[in-house]
């Protein structure tokens, strides 16, 4: 019987070997994946095991932590003015996970990041609890508050960028939400959370980064840039445009709003009065391929990470009449508020586009800097000369065109209004847009802004970028300029 016995011995050994191989597989090979599975409660337990590091704006924390009672979580996230800062911070909830900065820099905020290894070791040796590091943002509290307050109960978003560095100064999205309201894991938190999810106004949608809108007439700045760069047009040359303009391959006539001198208007005049006819014709003459090319130089057709992911703004391939309409931002091209702020900023910075960012520094608990963002140039999207021509056009708009409400005393403001149609046959309230920048007397451009206001409850005739969106942009620019003075 000994021969089969030996085989049974081998068989039993193989059973044990199978167990060892399997445990190696799940504990070693798959270990990291299982450990970091966001559904694994250990991730949240770890996250709230010590006071979380803070997100800092202008030297002050907009977040906090407070001790809680409970078996799993020792601390809970708190927010100061949560509604104002939610589009920046995102949320960190015991029950519902974390997003945006709270999620991206979770390692720093909890103190788990490998770069905090030194601090962890010291804490371990001295027997202290692990501490989290801080995330310092580029935001300007005054700009953010001004934008949020001016938006009031309107639905929309506003993004402010420092054109010279790309630093994001304001990131407003309304209606907003208070992330403190569901930071815990009680049934009350769940109720709040579910309420927010069900809210038709989608308060948790970050409209500034994640929502794309038809850019409307603000896109004419991009079309004008393409026109100048192509060498086929100049700022004060007549454009040989009929009014109304018949769209190519179509029997549809495109007209203009109001009674303005759009026929045969130069780029400057066309920008001043937002002439649809002129820019549709330019877009058609440049053709779909070139328009895509110039749009992409401004950042269309790619995702941006600031470091929070922003949705991709698009300028797609399309047929001739649609491409002509896209030249006035009224076809299949769509843009995020961030994207349009980048357009305004690039023009204001003499054609140089700076990479937008909102993380300035990551700071270890011992105050040493772990990571710092240095402004990065994304490239020259238009030549300096053409950028200045675009500035002249946009400044004309504010000086004596559709953008008059954005004027600020003693400061040169360039801007562009937009009113994007929305819905089948334009039956829904349009989107009101305004993009602008401010230039101080010493020639510096501290801020560029893009504002979009969705279907506010006002008469549709009233809706125009200048009436709804321009005041928000103005308030944010003023806040930035006040800070400089």
């Amino acid at each position: 019987m000994n021969k089969p016995l030996r085989r049974v011995a081998i068989f039993c050994g193989l059973l044990m070997v199978a167990l060892m191989v399997r445990s190696n597989w799940i504990q070693f090979a798959q270990g990291d994946e299982l450990r970091n599975d966001p559904k694994n409660r250990r991730v949240a337990i770890e996250r709230y095991a010590q006071p979380r590091g803070n997100i800092i704006v202008d030297g002050k924390a907009v977040t906090g932590s407070k001790a809680t009672e409970g078996t799993d979580f020792k601390y809970k996230r708190t927010y100061r003015n949560g509604e104002i800062w939610a589009p920046v911070t995102g949320y960190a909830s015991q029950a519902f996970g974390a997003t945006q900065l709270e999620s991206i820099y979770d390692g720093i905020l909890t103190g788990d990041d490998d770069r905090l290894f030194f601090n962890q070791t010291i804490d371990m040796l001295t027997g202290e609890d692990q501490k989290g590091g801080n995330v310092v943002t580029t935001l300007d509290a005054d700009v953010q508050k001004a934008g949020f307050e001016e938006m009031g109960d309107k639905k929309g978003a506003a993004v402010a960028i420092n054109p010279e560095t790309g630093a994001i100064l304001g990131l407003v999205s309304t209606p907003s939400y208070d992330p403190s309201s569901f930071a815990g894991n009680s049934s009350k938190d769940a109720e709040k959370w579910n309420g927010l999810l069900k809210d038709e106004d989608e308060p948790m949608l970050n409209r500034a980064l994640r929502q794309t809108y038809p850019p409307g007439s603000t896109f004419k700045v991009v079309t004008a840039a393409a026109a100048l760069e192509s060498g086929m047009y100049d700022i004060d040359e007549k454009t040989d445009t009929p009014d109304p303009y018949r769209l190519p391959q179509s029997t549809t006539d495109l007209g203009n709003d109001g009674n303005h001198p759009c026929e045969d208007a130069s780029l400057r005049v066309a920008m001043q009065w937002s002439c649809n006819t002129v820019f549709a014709k330019i877009s058609d003459e440049l053709g779909n391929e070139k328009m895509i090319d110039y749009s992409e130089r401004f950042g269309f057709n790619q995702e941006h990470f600031v470091p929070v992911r922003a949705a991709e703004s698009v300028y797609p391939e399309d047929n001739r009449p649609q491409n002509a309409m896209a030249g006035i931002g009224q076809a299949s091209n769509r843009a995020t508020p961030l994207q349009m702020a980048m357009v305004a900023a690039a023009v204001a910075n003499d054609g140089k586009m700076m990479e937008p960012y909102m993380m300035d520094q990551l700071i270890a608990p011992g105050l040493s800097v772990v990571e710092e963002h240095k402004p990065r140039e994304m490239g020259e999207v238009v030549s300096g000369e053409n950028a200045q021509k675009l500035q002249q056009m946009m400044e004309t708009v504010v000086e004596k065109g559709t953008g008059v409400p954005a004027q600020i005393d003693g400061v040169t403001v360039g801007g562009k209004t937009g009113t994007a149609q929305h819905g089948e046959n334009n039956e829904k309230n349009p989107y009101a847009w305004f993009i602008s920048y401010a230039k101080t007397s010493d020639g510096s451009t501290p801020i560029a802004v893009a504002v979009v206001v969705e279907s506010a409850d006002v008469l549709r005739d009233d809706i125009a970028g200048s009436k709804l969106a321009a005041p928000v942009a103005k308030a944010m620019m003023e806040a930035a300029l006040d800070g400089k003075r």
């Binding site: 019987m1 000994n2 021969k3 089969p4 016995l5 030996r6 085989r7 049974v8 011995a9 068989f11 039993c12 050994g13 059973l15 044990m16 199978a18 167990l19 060892m20 399997r22 445990s23 190696n24 799940i26 504990q27 070693f28 798959q30 270990g31 990291d32 994946e33 299982l34 450990r35 599975d37 559904k39 694994n40 409660r41 250990r42 337990i45 078996t71 799993d72």
Partner: protein, 467 residues
């Protein structure tokens, strides 16, 4: 002391008795010291990690475990002096660590069930008492052979009884008498091994030789198929009526292994595997309980994805992952998130999380070592009944470990069985101590020097020359 002449320390064959082996009792004693000290340190570790102080019961626990191990050792020295030296220390170590793990889970704030460690300590003491009783009263394992058919009846009764008791958590594996719950399957495991050993010893020739050759395989005769078909039917019935995949698998596997050893015919294995496969697939096709287990095995996270709530299989996987290579350290993991059955069926997940891959490997090696010592005993045994019984008990132990641990780590579908010696549960720990006692008794008989022939001057002379 009766063993003094046999305690060879050099390891070579220096005993005076003819063909004798060193008894290895001192080796056993030395390892027992470690087997007691390691759980005591583990106990201290848990206390320091959770409460920041040495646990109050530490001295009592250490002394208790030490005392039980010491008594067991002395009884082995007296009643089974040539027994295998590894089994008692391994069983003590596993039982000791099991107690620590249960006590650790008792400290959990998440688990609401009553503390399990004090009861488990009592069951362990009872288990060791039974261990001692077997060693003292079972003079020779061959006595068990007389009870072959009685064993069959008892085993059948034990296996069928739970059908008449209400299901606990989906499986009918319990019988309750006067408020006490017993898992008869654990005891049936031993008794049925006795029956198989006795039965196969008698029938092995018929089963092995009376067969037709077909396609290079020896096919059993139709009428010899009776017993295997009966056991197969019983296993399937257990699976269907008691929804107990583990017990069913264990008995069928045990029988096939013993049949193979008895007949040396590979065809029996193929035949057994085919039957097992047919039975499993057939039952799985209509039994929702088995289906859901299979689904959890194929994708442990499907419930998490579908409902957002983590179930036990997912929690167990996370516990294994969280452990990583070195583990979080005793008392510092979150394996209690498994909640229900964390101390029993899923206790291996706590090993995985808090002791890491290292701990899992160590435990699997300990189990493997115990099993291989058992099979070594079978090889050394001089009588076919002893060989069959030893291999049966060892294989049952191995299959049980594989089925439970494999189920917890989603290597195979999960079945409701207990990790021998580790998991909470009185029946399991008592039965496994008895199992080890029988193996020890067989190994003692196997390694005991053959009784010297009547003393004669010639032999004396020879010995003098040899020494």
């Amino acid at each position: 002391m009766s063993t003094s002449q046999a305690t060879g320390t050099t390891g070579s064959n220096t005993t005076i008795s003819p063909g004798g082996l060193p008894s290895r009792r001192n080796t056993e004693l030395a390892m027992l010291v470690f087997a007691v000290l390691i759980p005591v340190f583990a106990y201290a570790n848990v206390g320091l990690a959770i409460n920041g102080e040495m646990p109050a019961g530490m001295l009592g626990y250490g002394l208790g475990l030490g005392l039980m191990a010491g008594v067991a050792h002395l009884v082995v020295r007296r009643f089974a002096p040539y027994a295998d030296p590894l089994m008692l220390p391994i069983a003590t170590l596993l039982n000791g660590l099991g107690l620590v793990l249960i006590w650790r889970l008792d400290q959990s704030e998440r688990l609401v069930d009553p503390p399990g460690a004090p009861n488990q300590l009592m069951w362990s003491a009872l288990g060791i008492a039974l261990f001692l009783a077997v060693l003292v009263f079972l003079k020779d394992h061959r006595i068990l052979q007389r009870y072959t058919y009685i064993s069959m009846v008892v085993a059948l009764v034990l296996l069928i009884l739970p059908m008449f008791f209400p299901a606990v958590n989906g499986a009918k594996i319990w019988i309750s008498i006067g408020g006490m719950s017993i898992q008869p399957g654990e005891f049936a495991k031993i008794i049925i091994a006795v029956f198989f050993a006795g039965y196969l010893m008698v029938k092995r020739d018929a089963l092995a030789l009376a067969s037709r050759r077909f396609l290079g395989l020896y096919l059993p005769r139709g009428r010899d198929l009776g017993p295997i078909l009966a056991i197969w039917a019983l296993s399937v019935l257990i699976l269907v009526f008691e929804t107990d995949l583990g017990t069913s698998l264990l008995f069928f596997g045990l029988f096939v292994v013993m049949l193979y050893v008895a007949t040396e015919r590979t065809s029996w294995i193929l035949f057994g595997l085919t039957l097992a496969l047919v039975g499993a697939v057939a039952v799985a096709s209509f039994e929702p309980h088995v289906q859901s287990r299979v689904q959890d095995w194929l994708d442990p996270f499907h419930v998490v994805r579908e409902t957002g709530n983590a179930n036990q299989p997912a929690q167990a996987m996370w516990a294994f992952g969280a452990g990583g290579i070195l583990g979080t350290g005793l008392g510092q993991g979150n394996s209690d998130l498994i909640m229900f059955a964390a101390k029993s069926d899923y206790i291996f997940a706590t090993v995985a999380e808090e002791l890491g891959l290292t701990g899992v490997m160590a435990f699997v090696l300990l189990y493997g070592l115990l099993v291989e010592r058992g099979i070594r005993t079978a090889l050394a045994a001089r009588d076919p009944f002893g060989k069959l019984l030893a291999v049966g008990l060892s294989a049952a132990f191995a299959i049980q470990v594989f089925v439970v641990a494999g189920g917890v780590m989603a290597l195979i579908p999960l079945t409701g069985m207990t990790m021998p010696f580790l998991a909470q549960g009185g029946s399991s720990v008592i039965a496994n101590w008895a199992l080890v006692a029988i193996l020890l008794k067989i190994s003692d008989t196997a390694r005991r020097p053959a009784p010297a022939p009547a003393p004669s001057p010639d032999v004396e002379m020879t010995q003098v020359v040899r020494s």
